[in-house]
């Protein structure tokens, strides 16, 4: 059994969605963990789901980075635990400095809920094993999903292979039209240098069943069942 913790901040709203999606994967046991009493020891992976952690006032994820849960997450990540942040989770991981760059207001200045495509650029993460070069169709739902960074950071992130997901069209071309929020270089998700911490704006938990219109998200979360227990560090560092 892979033990997966799903972090819940006060305004998180995807925790039960993730729990349900992960329940479809054989070999995964999940637990929703309240951020203030967060102890990730004994877990193999942690998910930071979507939502509006503290109403997303000031900046999405800004207040959440002060939570004890985020501190524990940092410790867990430092020890090599696999961490996936989706949507607000990605925003929190960036605010907390666990991932490079920042997520700012969509270029459209509006929230966008839609189906989009991403191409998987790296399989050096516990979540994308075996998926490199695949184009996946997934939902997004965010108002602050435009990934930005200064030119040096962008260059470094690209060079180190930390770009994990890129917005593309259905054929896998990273065009401006395929970019739903104006993200730099069509970046939809990145990892830390070690590869054990991954953030993405799309919602894999929303496309884990055919009934909901797609199963590409399942391919990402199903990878967790194969994640090496407690030893992600050794593999991905």
């Amino acid at each position: 059994m892979t033990r997966v913790a799903i972090l819940r901040y006060p305004g998180t709203w995807s925790e039960r969605d993730f729990q349900h999606a992960l329940s479809l994967v054989e070999g995964i046991a999940t637990e929703i963990v309240w951020h203030a009493e967060c102890d990730l020891r004994g877990f193999d992976a942690a998910i930071v789901p979507g939502g509006f952690s503290y109403g997303d006032y000031l900046r999405a994820g800004a207040i959440a980075k002060l939570s004890p849960g985020t501190k524990e997450l940092r410790r867990f990540a430092d020890e090599g635990g696999a961490v996936l942040g989706s949507c607000n989770g990605f925003q929190i991981l960036c605010e907390a400095g666990l991932l490079p760059g920042a997520l700012v207001r969509n270029a459209s200045l509006e929230y966008r809920c839609d189906w989009i495509h991403v191409r998987i650029e790296s399989d050096r993460t516990p979540f994308t094993t075996g998926l490199r070069r695949q184009v996946l169709r997934m939902p997004i739902g965010h108002g602050e999903g435009r990934w930005v960074a200064d030119p040096d950071t962008l260059a470094a992130v690209e060079a180190a292979g930390q770009v994990v997901f890129r917005y593309t069209d259905a054929a896998g071309a990273a065009t401006a039209d395929a970019n739903p929020n104006g993200a730099l270089a069509n970046i939809a998700g990145v990892s830390n240098r070690a590869g054990n911490v991954v953030g993405l704006m799309p919602h894999p938990e929303r496309c884990a069943e055919a009934l909901l219109g797609g199963t590409d998200g399942y391919r990402i979360i199903a990878n967790l069942a194969k994640a090496p227990h407690g030893t992600a560090a050794a593999v991905y560092r």
Binding site: S14, F52, Y111, C113, G141
Partner: protein
């Protein structure tokens, strides 16, 4: 609020509206009560009430809270049925889905606040309807909205549209409830008086259902959620009880600002309180704030309640008791907990320790009412007076509004179709709804864009379908037919995804009921809903009335917004929102007798006239037939014929998958081809079916006495409608997809 406007009641005691705002020494006039009402208040209290008491009665007996003009009429609506678990009168109604699960839902208006401040008005409208549902112990699973604006070429209207859409988006997305379906009208009568109606649907296990009844003597009363501030003192109760007029700005209460994050905390806290079985009674704070919530809980539970106003946590300094009792600060809930419930039992995680700003506070305890010092203020149940105030039954016979029929020069029909597809009445609403999260919760099987939204219920095979509709263009000509057709369309939309209609909720948006025309519209609207409910076998379980929607003395078109909920025994077997497969047959079922009188095509050419046809028995047969055809497994796709008529219905079907079809217009005696193509009328559904099953379907149709025309087959990349048009589907997609953004001047 010193010089509050007055409300007129019975004819006999009607104060002169012109005296509105004039300084008056009479305390009851200041709070909007008539002389007759004041006498009644004195009788109830047994002495001369004090200022606070007058203010509380004034708020409770305002049009908004007391339903003076509509209460008697609303009793005409059928509210009983085998599946009804909770009927009208509670925070929301509920139907039984079987195996112990109830579906709770209600629609509500936030028209006047949205006219004053579109963003905050719409946002707090969503907040209010969510609270109505979780006050029942139910977890909200979907929001729907029905919006009515002026023509989109007006800059002010565009600002209103983006404010309203932004407010719904920000609030609903932050709380995390998917917005799955809606309705948008653009008509001149809404230019200065937009309508914002929001509906919420939730689920609750029967034993967790909570209501505002059940408070027991000795139990503690809690106010949970936000602090109380000066915002919106008596705002909803007053604002919604009069026409918006020029020069009243000074009297407007300050705008209420919503905080969806606190709503999310309040939602989780309330549900956790329900889960630990701590709640005896619960009531959200809406119009007239604490006054209304406390008196409703007290009245419905049959107990008194002693409130220490001094213990209410406040946001502003120096607030008076009157301000505290009438504040309409958002995101608050009144909870009566068991006598032995202590604060420690309240879920700390949802509110207290995370957000010290938002404390759970015990501030009073309820006791049996004793002595004359504590007036019992019963919400809707008080006093028996408002019944008598319903306006008289003016026997007005309606004539069609003047119309200017002068058809524009003939154009190629194909171009007319493109124009119609791109027009505000018909074009895709995607540019608006894509800023609403429609997928959070991972239950949305069909979201916005389909005839109805479909939601699964995790852990169960069944699911629900929801739709919301209105027919203001028809109601402008004939309010009875407009209301009835809204019920017909909402339920037909459910049927088009394969769901059996269970019940509806209604929001009556009307003009000034003090004018004969308004009173007539109100009564006709209620009767129209009743007739359709009777014919279609759906009860009304909840609803809302919004009156005084008028601009400079001109009423809006009577607008009954109908939210409908249906059930699918097997949610995986819904009718998908596809075009169908090449080779499939395209049929038209139901009524082919359409006209341009209330059509979108006609409206664009200055035609707006009666008569309106209406055959509710035929509608019921059509709905039964479509459900039977689907049960037989023969339906590949279905689409309701609504705005834009058959031509648009066929085009929208093709647009779904970008696949064309080759069809022939049905020959309808006496109808011109343009009328057949663009005319509108109730009770028509386009079905796409397996060709092998045609005979079987026709037999089913015959049994239900439903007419069926075989129009043609799916395939190719053209929409060919012989003998009038042939258009590439790609151009239909562009017109329909981009039309509204273009009309609104939005980037797309």
């Amino acid at each position: 609020m010193s010089a509050s406007p007055t409300i007129s009641g019975t004819k006999a005691a009607k104060p002169n509206r012109e005296s509105r705002g004039s300084a008056s020494a009479d305390p009851h006039v200041e709070v909007g009560l008539t002389d007759a009402e004041a006498t009644r208040v004195r009788e109830i209290v047994g002495r001369e009430p004090n200022r606070l008491e007058w203010a509380m009665f004034g708020a409770m007996w305002s049009e908004h809270c007391a339903y003076k003009h509509s209460r008697k009429l609303l009793r005409r609506l059928p509210s009983a049925g085998p599946g009804v678990a909770v009927g009208p009168g509670e925070n929301a109604g509920a139907v039984d889905l079987g195996d112990g699960l109830l579906c709770v839902f209600k629609v509500e208006s936030h028209n006047h606040p949205s006219a004053v401040e579109p963003f905050q008005g719409a946002a707090t409208g969503v907040g209010g309807i969510l609270r109505d549902v979780f006050a029942m112990g139910a977890r909200p699973v979907a929001v729907l909205n029905a919006l009515f604006f002026g023509p989109p070429d007006d800059a002010r209207v565009r600002r209103t549209v983006s404010g309203v859409v932004g407010g719904i988006s920000v609030y609903g997305n932050c709380v995390g409830i998917p917005d799955v379906a809606g309705h948008v009208s653009f008509e001149p009568c809404f230019a200065e008086n937009p309508l914002v109606n929001a509906m919420c649907v939730g689920f609750v296990e029967r034993e967790r259902l909570r209501t505002s009844t059940g408070a027991k003597p000795g139990s503690a009363v809690y106010l949970v959620g936000s602090d109380t501030g000066r915002d919106g003192i008596a705002g909803a109760s007053l604002l919604a009880s009069f026409e918006l007029g020029a020069g009243d700005d000074r009297k407007r209460p300050s705008v209420q600002v919503g905080n969806p994050f606190v709503e999310k905390l309040l939602l989780e806290a309330t549900l956790e309180l329900v889960a630990v079985d701590a709640i005896e009674a619960v009531q959200d704070l809406g119009a007239a704030g604490l006054t209304c919530a406390s008196s409703e809980v007290a009245a419905k539970s049959g107990v008194g309640m002693r409130i220490d106003v001094g213990r209410v946590p406040r946001r502003a300094r120096g607030m008076t008791a009157l301000e505290v009792m009438l504040s309409e600060s958002q995101e608050r809930m009144l909870v009566v907990a068991h006598g032995d419930t202590t604060l420690a039992l309240l879920p700390p995680r949802a509110l207290a320790d995370d957000a010290p700003e938002y404390d759970v506070t015990q501030w009073a305890s309820s006791e049996p009412a004793t002595g004359p010092t504590l007036p019992r203020i019963g919400g809707l149940s008080l006093g028996g007076s408002s019944d008598d105030m319903a306006q008289g039954d003016q026997a007005l016979r309606e004539t069609a509004r003047p119309s200017t029929s002068g058809a524009s020069p003939l154009q190629k029909i194909g171009l007319e179709l493109l124009e119609l597809l791109a027009s505000p009445a018909v074009a895709s609403r995607r540019t608006l709804y894509r800023s609403f999260d429609s997928m959070v919760g991972t239950d949305t099987v069909l979201g916005p864009g389909a005839d109805a939204a479909v939601l699964r219920i995790k852990g169960r095979p069944d699911g629900i379908a929801v739709a919301i509709d209105a027919q203001p263009r028809v109601a402008a000509i004939d309010p009875f037919a407009g209301a009835a057709l809204a019920v017909a369309e909402a339920t037909r939309n459910l049927v088009c995804v394969g769901a059996t209609p269970l019940a509806i909720t209604d929001c009556l948006n009307l003009g000034n009921p003090e004018r004969p025309r308004g009173a007539y519209d109100l009564e006709q609207t209620v009767d129209g809903i009743r007739a359709a409910c009777d014919a279609l076998g759906v009860p009304v379980v909840s609803g809302n009335v919004s009156l005084y929607n008028a601009t400079r003395g001109v009423d809006i078109w009577p607008t009954a917004t109908i939210g409908a909920v249906g059930r699918l025994a097997d949610v995986a077997r819904h009718i998908p929102a596809t075009t169908g497969r090449p080779g499939d047959l395209v049929l038209l079922a139901g009524n082919a007798l359409v006209s341009l009188g209330t059509s979108a095509y006609g409206a664009a050419r200055g035609i707006h006239e009666g008569p309106v046809s209406l055959d509710l028995a035929a509608e019921a047969r059509l709905q039964r037939f479509v459900l039977a055809a689907h049960a037989a497994g023969a339906v590949r796709a279905a689409h309701d014929r609504s705005d834009g008529g058959l031509g648009v219905a066929l085009a929208e079907l093709a647009i779904r998958d970008g696949v064309g079809m080759k069809v022939t217009l049905p020959a309808v005696r006496g109808l011109d081809k343009r009328v057949t193509l663009f005319g509108e009328g109730p009770s028509g559904v386009v079905l796409v079916v397996d060709p092998a099953r045609e005979a079987e379907l026709r037999a089913l149709a015959e049994r239900e006495q439903v007419a069926v025309w075989t129009l043609g087959t799916i395939g190719g990349d053209l929409l060919e409608v012989a003998p009038v048009l042939g258009m590439p589907v790609a151009s239909l997609v562009r017109a329909h997809g981009g039309g509204l953004a273009a009309a609104l001047g939005r980037a797309d």
